[in-house]
């Protein structure tokens, strides 16, 4: 590497596969990759094989591995210790009021779409959701069966741990509003109504 740059760039399809694997927090199956690239599995297979070879163990600090029926980037085993050391140096972030509010909306109403959260909070919450995702407190929970199939978000096990909860049922009831924690639909309806009223 340093002092010996490669002369051959990756082909276009392989580059797009690389970008897809890089961004996805979960393994992607060949069919997903093909669909995303508007290609067939037959096209994807050799490009993917090339990518796996490029990121074979020992070549880079990250490797492409096949796990659970899909492909994903992961930190190379012999680099794990460095990454762990780095995580030990990072100081934990606090949750800003905006993050906390967004987290509470996800926790009580999950699964929710980005639009639901924005609706309830009355402000675009893209950045707050990204911040929570980055902290591992929320994650994707599939797609809603509505037009555009937006991503659904829910809280993670890390979230439960951080708040000392055994399960989501242990979320404190919203006593002040005489609602049980289970009455999610009612809370949702109320929040949506409030959001609508706030807009007018």
């Amino acid at each position: 590497m340093p002092g010996s740059p490669h002369d051959v760039s990756m082909d276009d399809l392989a580059r797009r596969l690389e970008a897809l694997l890089f961004i996805s927090p979960r393994p992607l199956a060949v069919e997903d990759l093909a669909a995303a690239c508007e290609a067939t599995a037959t096209d994807v297979d050799p490009a993917l094989a090339g990518l796996v070879a490029e990121y074979a163990a020992g070549r880079h600090g990250i490797v492409v591995t096949e796990v659970g029926g899909g492909f994903t980037f992961a930190v190379a085993d012999d680099c794990a210790e460095t990454v762990r050391r780095h995580s030990g140096l990072e100081r934990p972030d606090d949750l800003s009021p905006a993050l906390l509010e967004t987290l509470s909306v996800v926790a009580y109403l999950e699964p929710v779409t980005r639009a639901d959260v924005a609706e309830v909070r009355g402000v675009s919450s893209e950045w707050a959701l990204a911040g929570l995702e980055e902290r591992g407190l929320i994650e994707e929970r599939g797609r809603a069966a509505t037009p555009g199939a937006p991503i659904l978000y829910g809280t993670t096990d890390r979230f439960l741990k951080l708040f000392g909860l055994r399960s989501r049922d242990e979320l404190p009831p919203l006593d002040e509003f005489a609602l049980e924690a289970g009455e999610v639909e009612e809370i949702r309806a109320r929040l949506m109504a409030n959001a609508a009223r706030r807009r007018t």
């Binding site: 987290l103 509470s104 990204a130 591992g136 404190p172 009831p173 706030r198």
Partner: protein, 278 residues
């Protein structure tokens, strides 16, 4: 809504005209015909339909200084009450126009205030300071255009946004670092109904003032003169309203007020028609 790729530049990036919170724009432009609000006005400076008045003001043919906007509102409310009908469209249009007039007028008032301050300065110095300020502001506007261009290029870039796998974290997740009650506390403000704006004072005052005005006009028309104590109701607030109504009659040139001594009786006399010359 998925947008186009991050690489597709928009041609007018960052060069959009500045609008937003601009204090520089006038509501409506000169010569714009005002949308129809059916109201005949009889003001000191103007006798005719409201639409015409707005048009004349926008064309700078009538100075908004001279126009009592409160008088226009009072007339409108009286007419609305008399007609017994409520046309939402027409009323909204009226409110929009009146708001525009008030904005123009308040802007003039503010301008005048600063002009007075500036008068105390050397006129050249005042002009120089204003130019300096606008030049400084212009710099930031140009910088904002540059930022808009950068945004077009960079804002769409995709970074990885996944948490590190637990196995790679040296520091385990801090157990129960936050109390769950914090979550309920964060959600609570969103669950509460937003407070309804309290408009009771507006409605009450407007309606009772208008009613009071009408009542006093009747008495004045019938009797030609009366005293405050003869017409004033018992309640404190109601008396205040009567007093305001008297002031309105006086300001409108319909009645003459006279008080011979402090805290003494107020005598009200009708001013013979025509109240307004020209």
């Amino acid at each position: 809504m998925a947008r186009g790729g991050a690489t597709a530049p928009r041609p007018d990036a960052g060069r959009r005209r500045w609008t937003g919170e601009s204090g520089a724009e006038r509501p409506g432009s000169p010569g714009t015909a005002a949308p129809g609000v059916d109201l005949d006005l009889d003001l000191d400076v103007f006798d005719g339909p409201f639409d015409l008045l707005v048009t004349l003001i926008l064309r700078d043919e009538i100075d908004i200084w001279e126009v009592r906007v409160s008088g226009i509102i009072a007339e409108y409310v009286v007419r609305l009450a008399d007609s017994g009908e409520f046309d939402l469209d027409a009323t909204s249009q009226f409110v929009v126009l009146v708001a525009a007039l008030l904005e123009m007028k308040s802007r003039l008032l503010l301008e005048d205030e600063s002009a007075v301050e500036l008068d105390e300065l050397d006129p050249d110095e005042a002009a120089r300071q204003l130019v300096e300020r606008l030049v400084r502001y212009g710099q930031f506007r140009n910088a904002a255009a540059m930022m808009g261009e950068r945004w077009e290029v960079h804002a769409g870039r995709l970074y990885r946004n996944a948490p590190p796998p637990a196995a790679l974290l040296r520091r385990p997740v801090p157990q129960a670092r936050f109390a769950p009650a914090v979550l309920a506390g964060a959600l609570a403000p969103l669950l509460r109904d937003p407070p309804q704006p309290d408009t009771s004072h507006l409605a009450d005052l407007a309606v009772s003032l208008v009613r009071e005005l009408r009542r006093l006009r009747e008495v004045l028309g019938r009797e030609g003169r009366f005293t405050f104590s003869a017409v004033a109701p018992k309640g404190r607030l109601e008396r205040a309203m009567t007093f305001f109504a008297l002031l309105e009659l006086h300001a409108g040139g319909e009645a003459r007020l006279r008080q011979r001594q402090h805290f003494g009786e107020i005598e009200v006399t009708r001013v013979p028609e025509p109240a307004v010359a020209g």
